[in-house]
């Protein structure tokens, strides 16, 4: 393993310290809880928080900023944050308008946030929890009952963040989360494995000529292990799975995301986007907004996921709203 690491145990805190060092104007940290929050939280607006294992950057702590998350905490690589960190995240930004907790559907994350939300409520904080489950690949998985939450998470954060910034009530922001989650679908593919710094070895084995179709963002198995195919063929597998699931139909306006899983260069993501855009055209979809880059990764896994969100005027306006985060690409 070759990585930029000092001591693997300090990897997550040191990465967070770097984010703060680079974004001192926007963000501050509470290192004890591996938590990053916005400076100058507006008490009249709904706060939006999230937190899960590290290794998915820029999700989730790098998605904190005006128009996006108000705060986020993270656990060790690929492991849920502890309950006290989740509770502190809620408390650190709790506003009169209330707190929306966005949780990607994984058992570990859900249980930690369930407990933290209950404790926060007992302290008189208004909290609503919302679960994101956009991955069409598998119904249940290694770490979930039900579908997994993956890159579609970005659209929930973005739309809810914009609504909260515009002064929407907690109930209204929750309704936005529901609308996005009901209309967003994702599927991913892995070409290589990934190496958690503390583990030092690849998390699963995969042959040079193989790919994992429907892979999870922690390297969990997907639908099938097959031989490598061309970019056009792979994109069609992902697109068909996503398109048929909602389904997206002729005349729909969509946001289309090609998300890199960490180890695939931007140029390859655009090759995939080009194929996906052609397929969307064949279906009769209008791509109103596109996103090509890294939004939700699995450390340095080579691979990508394809996400589509069916838009209406309200969602389109929310996606158009300005936002500023640590990675400055949102």
């Amino acid at each position: 393993m070759k990585k930029f690491v000092n001591n693997p145990e300090n990897f997550v805190p040191e990465f967070m310290a770097g984010v703060i060092a680079a974004n001192g104007d926007l963000l501050e940290a509470i290192p004890e809880f591996q938590l990053i929050k916005r400076k100058n939280v507006d008490a009249s607006k709904v706060a939006i928080v999230q937190g899960s294992g590290s290794g998915h950057e820029p999700a989730h702590v790098m998605a904190v900023g005006p128009g996006m998350l108000t705060a986020a905490c993270q656990g060790p690589v690929f492991a849920a944050p502890p309950v006290d960190a989740c509770l502190e995240t809620i408390k650190s930004v709790a506003t009169d308008a209330g707190v929306l907790v966005l949780v990607n559907n994984y058992q570990g994350d859900r249980m930690a946030w369930d407990m933290a939300s209950e404790m926060a409520e007992a302290e008189g904080i208004k909290v609503v929890q919302f679960h994101i489950n956009d991955d069409v690949a598998v119904q249940d998985s290694l770490y979930t009952v039900g579908r997994r939450g993956v890159a579609g998470n970005f659209f929930v954060m973005k739309a809810c963040g914009a609504a909260a910034e515009a002064g929407a009530s907690l109930e209204e922001v929750v309704a936005i989360a529901e609308k996005v989650n009901n209309n967003v679908r994702t599927m991913g593919v892995a070409l290589t494995s990934c190496i958690p710094p503390a583990k030092g070895d690849p998390i699963f084995d995969i042959g040079d000529d193989e790919m994992e179709v429907g892979v999870g963002i922690h390297g969990e198995p997907g639908r099938e292990r097959t031989k490598m195919k061309s970019a056009a063929e792979i994109t069609k597998i992902l697109y068909d799975a996503v398109q048929s699931d909602l389904p997206f139909s002729s005349g729909d306006r969509v946001a289309l995301m090609v998300n890199g899983l960490g180890g695939t260069p931007p140029a390859e993501l655009y090759v995939v986007y080009n194929e996906a855009a052609k397929l969307a055209g064949e279906t009769g979809l209008t791509i109103a907004r596109n996103y090509v880059g890294e939004y939700c990764t699995a450390i340095e896994m080579a691979g990508c996921s394809l996400t589509m969100l069916k838009l209406d005027d309200e969602l389109e306006k929310l996606l158009d709203a300005p936002a500023q985060t640590a990675c400055r690409i949102f």
């Binding site: 309950v83 006290d84 249980m111 369930d114 407990m115 209950e118 404790m119 007992a122």
Partner: protein, 220 residues
């Protein structure tokens, strides 16, 4: 009606730590029969931290103390046991919020609330072969009794947990990791139920309450 002071509750938790730590390998071996074999280690890892931090924990109120224990559980007990046990302590702590001692009715309500929380967290039903199959009859027995003799209550609830070991032994697990092996979980005791029974039996021994166990897992 008897009451328990915060110091008495701390003592019971300290004994519980000893029980869990001493049985680390045994509970994991039981879990290995149908689950993933980490139950004993997961639990012991967390209870070692509780044992170490117990002397320094804020003991101004039962509720605050139990919430702290809950935090340690959820942070240091691995797997799904962390949130499950953490929720139990959290819910108990919420009932005992601000109390410097708890009476029998409050103690019974703490157990009831802990059960409600664990059900909400894990979604288990009666007969799913989880630790709740020990906790439900314990709570019902507590509700039946008047609590004037806490020793008698302890013997009675230990008997309920003891019975639960054999009552669920032949059934197939429907929740937790053991549910994934289907029929293979039949004819193995549930480690969570054995854990509860072992803790209570050790309390009996510590407090000088006579109890003769039936299940093989308590007669080792």
């Amino acid at each position: 009606m008897s009451t328990l002071t915060i110091d008495q509750i701390v003592e019971a938790i300290d004994i519980t730590c000893d029980t869990v730590i001493r049985n680390e390998k045994y509970f994991s071996d039981l879990d290995g029969l149908a689950g993933d074999g980490d139950f004993g280690t997961s639990l012991a890892t967390g209870f070692k931290v509780i044992k170490a931090e117990l002397p320094e924990i804020d003991k101004s109120a039962v509720g605050a103390m139990l919430l702290k224990i809950s935090m340690i559980c959820s942070k240091h007990v691995g797997g799904s046991s962390g949130p499950i046990w953490g929720t139990g302590f959290m819910r108990g702590g919420m009932v005992a919020k601000g109390l410097e001692e708890v009476n029998y009715q409050q103690l019974t309500d703490m157990v009831g609330s802990a059960i409600e929380g664990i059900v909400a967290r894990g979604g288990a039903k009666r007969g799913d072969k989880t630790l709740l199959d020990a906790l439900w009859p314990i709570h019902e027995k507590m509700q039946e009794m008047d609590g004037s003799d806490l020793g008698a209550v302890l013997a009675a609830v230990t008997a309920e947990a003891d019975k639960a070991i054999d009552a669920t032994r032949s059934s197939v697990a429907h929740r937790g990791r053991a549910s994934q092996v289907g029929e293979r979980s039949a004819n193995t005791p549930d480690p969570g139920i054995v854990g509860i029974a072992t803790i209570l039996y050790d309390w009996c021994k510590h407090y000088g309450v006579d109890y003769t166990p039936n299940a093989a897992e308590l007669n080792r």
